[in-house]
Structures are given as structure tokens and as C-alpha cells.
């Protein structure tokens, strides 16, 4: 058994002024009732790093006028996409919302879209859902449901612009396997707050990848809860924040039952004076969760002066009978020695920077498991780096 020292990380999480820390991550309020959550001020534990001012319209308990345009790939047999009325949508959601933006999204989404994959259906080709915003306020509620032993890859790609809040509910029945890729490729003025809630049945497998490149403010809060033994979750995240972008990723893995495995791996690059990223990774190993194996990692690569990355891992352990639990968090400046080494081989500064950043993300990108997405991501990262070169030239 390996257990890393997590006292430091826990202390870091609680040091800020005026914040009332949770006693345990398990004690957080969850509710469909919007009024159960006061409008966030930025002093709350879960909003203290957030761009609360930019998110304000997502907290308003009122109907939204806009919508996203949906384009879906052809759905194979055993896969359906249906509109579900509000009452039923709430019932089929795996857990109640965990914050105000999420509760508002459910209340005003006008029901949910449900992507359902029947038991024992194995879908080989990725199912893609393109969501395109054309401005305005939009509330969304999406259900992704896999029956027993079903398997699928689902890619949700967000483009265009909106002030968008959503709740994505993922329900994996026993032995189901889902590879879910959420791409935030918004235009630069989009504001997006999403809560992703997953419930994993016995022996089920969730591989979730989040890629955040676009948008002004993106705040994704992913929670995975184990409901049956032998399940595993791999959560990957890749983000690249430029000046003016605020990208926040919160994670919560709830080990409530024995013998489950979780891996969280998030990497981000930041470039530009006001680029900002936040990563908060909470893992709770409850008393009953014997045999748990968990590890979470966050690494940030700061490419230019002024950019700021916050990284807060939290590990709460209520039983000693575990396989392993650890976390690592590192935020580093761009390595000048690496640049020198590459350039001393004739490689130009621009190309060297590209190699280093690509290398930083390479292993993560290869985990996505959808070749088309992997290739397009490499191209996008090259574009991001080209953008960095422009910013550096203006300095």
C-alpha cells in the first residue's frame, strides 16, 4: 500500500481568508431546489477561485431565451436520442445538482435530451454530438445512459458562443463501458458552467476526457460516484488558457464502495498576462471503500509571465484498508534548459516551444482513444502555440 502525505494539500485548500471550509466533501448540499443555494459571492469554498462575476447570469432563477443547435451523427441500432419531460428528467438524473448554476440549468432547461444505449449494445464508431451556440442564455440538461454491458464512445463538441449552463448526467449500469469526450471549443466570448455527474454500477468503466481550449470562462465540475464494486474511472483533462481566459476544472471522486479504481490526470498550459486556470481535485475514500486504488495528478505549464494556475488536490481517507491513494500537483515555468537543448541542435525557438508543449500534452492526447479527435487536437495545440508566439512578439 502506498499513501502519500496529503496533509499539505488539505491545508492549502483551507488557508484562504473568509472561506468556510467543508468538514468533509460528503457534507456538501445537493438539491434540485435553486433556493437551496444562495447566489455565489466568490467566498464559498467551491466558488473561491471562480470567475463569479462573469458567471452571474447563470445564477439567475429565470427562463433563458437561447438554444444550442444540435447536430448528431447517425445513431446505430440500440442507441436513441429522445426528449424527456422535466419531471422524468429529474428522476433519471443520477444525483441532485451540487451548485446553483447546475440547479438553475436543470430547472430552466425545459426537460432533458437523453442519449440511451441499450443493454449489451456495443457501438464501435464514436457517437458525436455537436452543440453550436448562436448567442444568448442557454440552459441544458443531458442524460447519457448505458444499459448493462453496453459500450460506446460519445464525443460532445461545443462551438460558437453562449452563456451556457448545464447538467450532464451519466448513468452506467453494471459492466457498462463509456468513453466520453467533452470538447470546449467555444468562441472567445462564451461563458460555460457545467456539472457532470456520473454514477458507476458494478464493474462499469468510465473514461472521461475534458478538453478546454475555447471560451472566456469555462467552469466544469465533474463528480464520479461508485455505486457498485469493481468499477473504474479514468478522468483526463487538457486545457490551454490564453490571456482573458479563465478555465476551471473541479473533480470529485466518491469512493463509497469497496474495490474501485480511480485515476485523474489533468494537464494545462497557460500563456498571456491574464490567463488563469483552476484545478481542484477532491477524492473521498469512505469507510466502506476498502481496497480502493486512487491517484490524481495535475500539472501546469506556465509559458509566459503573469499567467496564474491554482492547483488544489484533496484526499480524504476514512479507511486504512486501501490498495493505494496518492496525488501529485506541479506548476512549473516553461523550462529554458529544454529550449536551449533543442535550439542547440538547430531547432528554431518557435519550433522548440512547439515540441516542448506538444510533448507535455502528448501522453494525455493519446489517452483519448478517438483518432480523429486526437489529430485535430494536435493541430489546435499548434494553433494555440502560434498564438503564444504572437503574444510574445507584442511584449
Amino acid at each position: 500500500m502506498t499513501v502519500t502525505d496529503h496533509t499539505q494539500a488539505t491545508a492549502d485548500a483551507a488557508h484562504s481568508h473568509g472561506v468556510i471550509p467543508d468538514k468533509s466533501r460528503a457534507d456538501r448540499v445537493v438539491s434540485f431546489d435553486v433556493d437551496a443555494f444562495p447566489v455565489p459571492t466568490g467566498r464559498e469554498e467551491n466558488w473561491r477561485f471562480s470567475a463569479v462575476r462573469d458567471l452571474r447570469s447563470l445564477f439567475a432563477d429565470e427562463a433563458a431565451d437561447g438554444h444550442l443547435e444540435w447536430t448528431t451523427s447517425d445513431l446505430p441500432e440500440g442507441v436513441t436520442l429522445t426528449q424527456v419531460p422535466a419531471d422524468e428528467a429529474r428522476e433519471r438524473t443520477v444525483r441532485e445538482p451540487g451548485d446553483r448554476a447546475s440547479a438553475v440549468a436543470v430547472k430552466h432547461a425545459g426537460g432533458a435530451m437523453a442519449l440511451t444505449i441499450a443493454a449489451n449494445t456495443v457501438v464501435d464508431e464514436p457517437i458525436t454530438i455537436d452543440l453550436h451556440g448562436t448567442g444568448g442564455d442557454v440552459r441544458g440538461h443531458l442524460l447519457v445512459e448505458l444499459g448493462q454491458s453496453a459500450e460506446a464512445t460519445v464525443v460532445v463538441n461545443r462551438t460558437g458562443t453562449a452563456r451556457y449552463s448545464e447538467l450532464v448526467s451519466i448513468d452506467l449500469k453494471d459492466n457498462a463501458g463509456l468513453n466520453l469526450v467533452l470538447l470546449q471549443q467555444w468562441d472567445e466570448d462564451a461563458v460555460h458552467a457545467g456539472e457532470v455527474l456520473a454514477r458507476l454500477g458494478r464493474d462499469s468503466r468510465l473514461r472521461g476526457t475534458v478538453v478546454t481550449l475555447g471560451g472566456k470562462v469555462v467552469r466544469l465540475n465533474t463528480s464520479a460516484a461508485f455505486a457498485g464494486e469493481g468499477a473504474s474511472v479514468d478522468l483526463f483533462g487538457l486545457y490551454f488558457a490564453d490571456s482573458g481566459q479563465h478555465q476551471e476544472h473541479q473533480l470529485f471522486v466518491d469512493h463509497a464502495v469497496p474495490k474501485c479504481t480511480s485515476r485523474v490526470t489533468y494537464k494545462g498550459a497557460l500563456a498571456g498576462k491574464t490567463a488563469r486556470s483552476v484545478w481542484i481535485g477532491d477524492v473521498l475514500i469512505r469507510a466502506a471503500a476498502e481496497g480502493t486504488d486512487t491517484y490524481e495528478l495535475n500539472r501546469n505549464l506556465v509559458l509566459t509571465d503573469g499567467a496564474r494556475a491554482d492547483s488544489v488536490p484533496n484526499l480524504e481517507i476514512e479507511t486504512g484498508e486501501i490498495e493505494g491513494a496518492g496525488h501529485a500537483s506541479a506548476t512549473g515555468r516553461f523550462d529554458e534548459e529544454q529550449m536551449f537543448y533543442l535550439r542547440s541542435r538547430g531547432i528554431s525557438e518557435e519550433q522548440a516551444r512547439k515540441l516542448v508543449v506538444r510533448g507535455f500534452f502528448a501522453d494525455l492526447i493519446h489517452e483519448i482513444g478517438v483518432p480523429a479527435v486526437e489529430e485535430s487536437l494536435m493541430r489546435q495545440i499548434d494553433l494555440e502555440i502560434a498564438h503564444v508566439e504572437e503574444e510574445l512578439e507584442h511584449e
Binding site: 536551449f340 542547440s344 541542435r345 538547430g346 515540441l355
Partner: protein, 251 residues
């Protein structure tokens, strides 16, 4: 025929205690096909000399000149120096995670030559060079220096030197930390490069052992930021017997 000419080179670095002069007037001329051993105790400034020639940003040139075939090297950026034909095998090669060796080598070769190498011959060249240096082909897929042992890093440096074919190479303690087998393999690589391309070599070393495998034409004793004495191979033999004490007492 190429010539690297270092004249009256003075170099400083910034330290927490303030600016510190490390090189205090270095003179050295290296022609194609010549091997110059630079021998000196730890801390005498050998790596500083190597880094200064390669253009590491930490080192400030306060006086003197470095030219390659008359061209002002100090005016060139780091990558321009490499393209002009200079190569530095580093004492401590840097890890670049996630960038595969094969991608790195091809990118460097393309940059140096100004055009991509022909795929078929390139693959063959890389394979052959790796075989000569007893490097497993699987190295190509690994990250640059990532998790390499000390000896593997040094062989990787020589691999690059053989493939990039510089005019003048500075080898900074390429021999340090190698066992005899690895030392022989690395030395063979250096001798091969010299034979094939007429490479001029600045062989920086702390120990005399490598000189059994790579025969120097000239030996320079480097102490306290400058060349304290120079001579032929016999000077190295004397150093082997007497060590650096004689020079340090005077310094």
C-alpha cells in the same frame, strides 16, 4: 576546412552573491580534423566555455570574440550557431518529455540542413548510427533523454553529433561517469565522425582515461578560467602522473 577561433574570452554569470567572472581571457583555435583536449579541475570553467560557445543565455560575454570561419558566432542565436556548424555534447543532457528521439532527430536534421532528409536514407542512417553506438532501436520511440541512464544520455549525444555532422564539436565531459565499455563505444563514435567528416573537436575532460581512445593533437590545461599551459599529448601523460596540484598552487 573550418576554424573556430576564441580570442580573449571573458564571461560572467549572475549569482546570488552578485556578478562573477568565470572565464578570464581564453584563447583557443581549433581547425577541422584537429582534436584539442581541454583538461582542468572541477570548477575551473570548462562547461562555461562550452556553454558560452553554444550561446547559453545564462552566460554573458563581457570581452573577446568567437568566430567560425571568420563569422561572428557571438552575434548568432543558439540555433544559428548550430546551423553554422557548431555542436555541443552536453555534460548533463536535458530531458524533453513526450518528444520522441526519432522526431527530435528528424526535426534537428531538417533544421540544420534547411530541408527534410530523404526518408529512406535517413531511416537507414539513424538505424546504422544507433547500431554502431549499441543503442536499441526502441530508443527512437522514447522521450528525449527521458529516463535514460547516464551512459545512454552520452551515447545519445554522440548519436546526434554523428547524424548532424557539425564542423566543430565541443564535447563536455562526455567521458565522465562512463564505464570502460561505454567509454569505448562513445570514443569510437567520436573517431568515426572525425574520420568521416573531418570534424574539429574540443574535448573537455577531467580525466585522462579517454585519451587512450581519442588521441589529442593538442592538450590545454585549463585552470581558473584560462588556459594555464598547452602542449602535445605528452602534457596529458604528465597530468596523469602529477594531477592538477601544480597549477592550483599557482592559481
Amino acid at each position: 576546412m573550418s576554424t573556430l577561433e576564441i580570442r580573449n574570452l571573458h564571461v560572467t554569470v549572475e549569482t546570488p552573491e552578485g556578478t562573477k567572472e568565470i572565464l578570464k581571457g581564453v584563447d583557443l583555435t581549433i581547425n577541422s580534423g584537429e582534436t584539442h583536449a581541454i583538461m582542468g579541475p572541477n570548477g575551473s570553467g570548462k562547461s562555461t566555455l562550452a556553454y558560452s560557445v553554444a550561446g547559453h543565455p545564462k552566460y554573458e560575454i563581457t570581452e573577446g570574440s568567437v568566430t567560425l570561419d571568420g563569422e561572428d558566432v557571438l552575434e548568432m542565436s543558439v540555433d544559428e550557431r548550430a546551423k553554422a556548424g557548431l555542436f555541443l555534447a552536453m555534460q548533463y543532457p536535458v530531458e524533453v518529455p513526450g518528444v520522441s528521439v526519432s522526431n527530435f532527430l528528424r526535426t534537428a536534421k531538417t533544421a540544420i540542413d534547411g530541408e527534410a532528409p530523404k526518408l529512406r536514407t535517413w531511416v537507414k542512417d539513424v538505424k546504422g548510427a544507433m547500431e554502431n553506438l549499441r543503442m536499441d532501436p526502441s530508443f527512437g520511440e522514447r522521450g528525449v533523454n527521458e529516463g535514460f541512464s547516464g551512459g545512454e544520455k552520452k551515447r545519445h549525444e554522440i548519436l546526434q553529433m554523428e547524424l548532424l555532422q557539425p564542423k566543430i564539436a565541443v564535447l563536455d565531459e562526455t567521458d565522465s561517469g562512463l564505464d570502460v565499455d561505454a567509454l569505448r563505444i562513445v570514443s569510437e563514435g567520436v573517431n568515426r565522425a572525425k574520420e568521416n567528416t573531418g570534424l574539429g573537436i574540443m574535448l573537455i575532460t577531467h580525466y585522462t582515461r579517454i585519451l587512450r581512445y581519442i588521441k589529442p593533437d593538442h592538450v590545454h590545461v585549463f585552470v581558473n578560467g584560462r588556459v594555464a599551459e598547452q602542449g602535445g599529448p605528452e602534457l596529458a601523460e604528465r597530468l596523469e602522473a602529477e594531477g592538477y596540484d601544480r597549477y592550483l598552487a599557482n592559481a
